[in-house]
Amino acid sequence: MNPYRYARILAWTGPLLLIGTIIFWGVLGQNIPPYSPALGAEEFAEQIREHAAQIRIGMIVQMPISVMWFTWSVAMWQVMRAIEIENGSNQVLSLIQLFGGAFTTIVFILPCSVWLAVAYRPEVMDPKTLQIMYDFGWMFFDMAYSLTTMQLIAWGVCMLQDRRAKPLTPAWAAWFTMFVVVSFLLLTMMPLVYDGPFSRSGLLNYFYEFGAFFIMWIVVAAYTLKAITRLEQEHWAANAAQ
Amino acid sequence: MIGKIAAAPRNAWLLLLAISGLSFLAAELMGERHVAIVAIMAISAAKILIILLRFMEVEQAPLFIRRYLYVWTFGIAGAIFTLWWAAT
């Protein structure tokens, strides 16, 4: 029995979700960047009314596909478990990562439902109501960062514990990933300002943070796929020898 | 020259304190702002180099990172001056 059965498919759901997120959440959802908190309620409502149809489609797709963050986390869990079993450890890190992945999945889904509600019938809604709902979505999306930080710190630490001469994941990738998710601490500033680089659509808290996050997503996805290939090879080599 | 003076961490420390004082004075007292800002950023870069070389022993670091940190030090100092000047 191959312990890495399904792992490759699960690992591919990660990059697949990235593409989907860019198209549905990002482009259709009008999130590159999101609407600035500096917009007045009337102006904001006008924007929503103008783009309601595409935002709705974006969120209608983004919500169900977000489950792929969890399936991707399961692939990472399988790789981490292999390392932890070899090290004779208690598999705590892979557990933490898995839960972090599950929680992060909700962090994708719930705000999208809020933004979907905003785009549902904006023509009859009071602009201020639309605005606070939209703000609420972003408060949840941005400020629940520690769930993702926890997930990827556990991953990074586990990758650094790999005792192979050529580790499954190189040290730089583990450190880069952990650095990016710790940098989310910058989001602390987001609820305190209404415009500028630290706002939800600003140069730092949007473009820099999310840009780094997307790069990290690619890095982790690539090394997870490579790791599964190597682990499968190791498994078959070991079992062929018996 | 910095290498010879700051041979030991203690000398590096004294030198750092001394030039910090200089940059503080430059900021507070120098009338000609362009010169003051150049002085402040040059001294900042010098201080960072001293810390990299004498406290952190950056020469033991991987080559790529060492070069990157040198570029970072001068790059940021230079960029700060350039952007300051662009606002005048």
């Binding site: 192979r164 601490l185 910058l186 190791e234 | 940059s23 960072i48 406290f55 940190l69 970072w72």
Partner: protein, 201 residues
């Protein structure tokens, strides 16, 4: 089955991770570099506001904090050399001294923040102050993290490991942590220049 999986495993891997702290330092400096550049770009449109706000900061306190961190950094560098040479007790004393000096940085910073809040200045007062609190705040988080690590190291090598292993591990952690601490000092140099000095007068 487990043993044949270990075919590619050997003890060499951990040593190769030594450059890790340097990589972290490079990443952190890059991040701060981006913040510094964004600060200066935001200043382009409003230099008078930025400079006037900067003048409300006490450059003397910023300078004092620079001296405090430089001194603390020196003591920790010294501690690292002692630790490398096996003089653990000497290293621990130097670490404690370094922490004692650095504690003053925290006091000064909290005092500074307090004077701002009392004057009604907060994160949202204007863009300069948003950056002031953000930059010094993130730096402060690094400072606190560094102090915690130094505090743990000041306890000496682990009592739960065989002595030789504990000493080797301690020397490695001391090396990495002192590098991190120097980075905290190094970043303050640019932060001090940006926030307190270039807007002066």
């Amino acid at each position: 089955m487990q043993h044949s999986n270990m075919a590619e495993t050997d003890g060499a891997a951990p040593a190769k991770r030594a450059p890790a702290i340097w990589l972290f330092i490079a990443l952190d400096c890059t991040s701060f570099g981006v913040f510094f550049l964004v600060f200066m770009v935001q200043r382009l449109g409003q230099p008078v506001l930025f400079d006037q706000s900067s003048q409300h900061l006490d450059a003397g306190l910023g300078f004092l904090n620079a001296c405090i961190l430089i001194t603390s950094s020196w003591l920790v560098a010294w501690a690292n050399i002692a630790g490398r040479e096996g003089r653990i007790d000497h290293a621990r004393r130097l670490l404690l001294a370094g922490m004692a000096v650095a504690a003053c940085f925290g006091v000064v910073k909290i005092y500074e923040y307090y004077t701002k809040f009392v004057a009604g200045i907060t994160v949202a007062t204007n863009e300069f102050y948003t950056f002031y609190f953000a930059l010094t705040g993130i730096h402060f988080i690094h400072y606190v993290g560094g102090m915690v690590i130094l505090g743990i190291l000041a306890q000496g090598p682990s009592r739960y490991m065989p002595e030789a292993m504990a000493k080797a591990s301690y020397a490695r952690w001391l090396e990495g942590s002192s590098l991190f601490w120097h980075m905290v000092d190094l970043l303050w140099i640019f932060i001090f220049a940006l926030l307190y000095l270039i807007g002066a007068r």
